[in-house]
């Protein structure tokens, strides 16, 4: 039976798994979980920016309104939140750079003949992922030590 595509399905392949597919659909590689984390950090940053812009509106209320708001943000809980935003930004930026290079074909490497044991280009280029993750951890520690503690 022919199924007629509706809405955006007419331009994209149907997503049968939905959001569940972000977490599990068989044996995912680390790159797939980085993709999920990229989306989660992106949504988190979007939510933060929306709140940030709303808070900026307090500036229109003058000096008293602004300083009342800043006294709330001086609490230690907000400092932790600010640090998490910085870490989410570091991850999203570096992983985004990796995805960009990969989408444009720069980090895929040259094609190889399919000789057993088969190793796809993603696994051959795995060191890029490890270097990126090491860089994220190093920058997260640097921001913690230099700006938070």
């Amino acid at each position: 039976m022919e199924v007629k595509a509706t809405g955006s399905q007419s331009r994209h392949l149907p997503n049968r798994l939905g959001i569940k597919g972000w977490a599990w659909a068989g044996r995912y590689t680390i790159e797939r979980y980085l993709y999920t984390l990229h989306r989660l950090t992106g949504l988190g940053l979007l939510l933060y920016i929306t709140l940030h812009l709303a808070m900026n509106g307090f500036r229109l209320g003058g000096v008293e309104s602004w300083e009342d708001l800043m006294s709330v943000f001086g609490m230690s809980g907000f400092k932790v939140g600010e640090y998490l935003v910085a870490v989410a930004f570091i991850f999203h930026a570096l992983n985004g750079g990796r995805l960009m290079l990969q989408h444009l074909g720069y980090t895929l490497g040259k094609p190889k003949p399919p000789v057993y044991p088969y190793v796809d280009s993603m696994r051959r280029r795995r060191p890029i992922v490890w270097v990126m993750l090491a860089l994220i951890v190093a920058l997260a520690i640097y921001v913690l030590v230099a700006f938070v503690i």
Binding site: T6, G7, S8, Q9, R11, H12, P14, N15, G18, I19, R39, G42, L43, L45, L46, I49, T50, L53, N56, G57, R59, L60, V63, W66, E67, M70, F73, E82, A86, F89, A93, G96, G97, M100, H103, V143, A146, F147, V148
Partner: protein
């Protein structure tokens, strides 16, 4: 605009945001001193450099964030017509830009 051009704009705004948001985070959130006191923000508000900087961050951030959200919505809820998603996000983007740009412009 074609999907390829939208995606290339996503890349360009992403690269721009890496530098712009990085600078904003260091200057206004993580650096020492008192970057969020009224005096400090009033000083930045009177600078045409910072006004242009904030408007640029806003344009890049809104495009990058809303295009990313569009990708997730279209992929996760395929029954939604893409044009409805597009126009809803464009309207939201223009409204947020108007509100958010008014704040530094009025303080300038």
């Amino acid at each position: 605009m074609s999907e390829t051009r939208l995606k290339i704009l996503q890349y360009i705004t992403g690269i721009g945001l890496f530098f712009l948001v990085g600078t904003h985070l260091i200057v206004s959130h993580l650096s020492g001193g008192e970057p969020t006191t009224w005096e400090s923000i009033a000083e930045r508000a009177s600078s045409s450099f910072w006004l242009a900087f904030y408007v640029l961050v806003l344009i890049f951030g809104l495009y990058h964030g809303l295009h990313g959200l569009r990708t997730i919505i279209i992929e996760s809820i395929p029954r939604l017509p893409a044009k409805v998603v597009d126009w809803t996000l464009v309207t939201a983007g223009i409204a947020i830009f108007g509100y958010a740009a008014y704040i530094p412009i009025s303080a300038f």
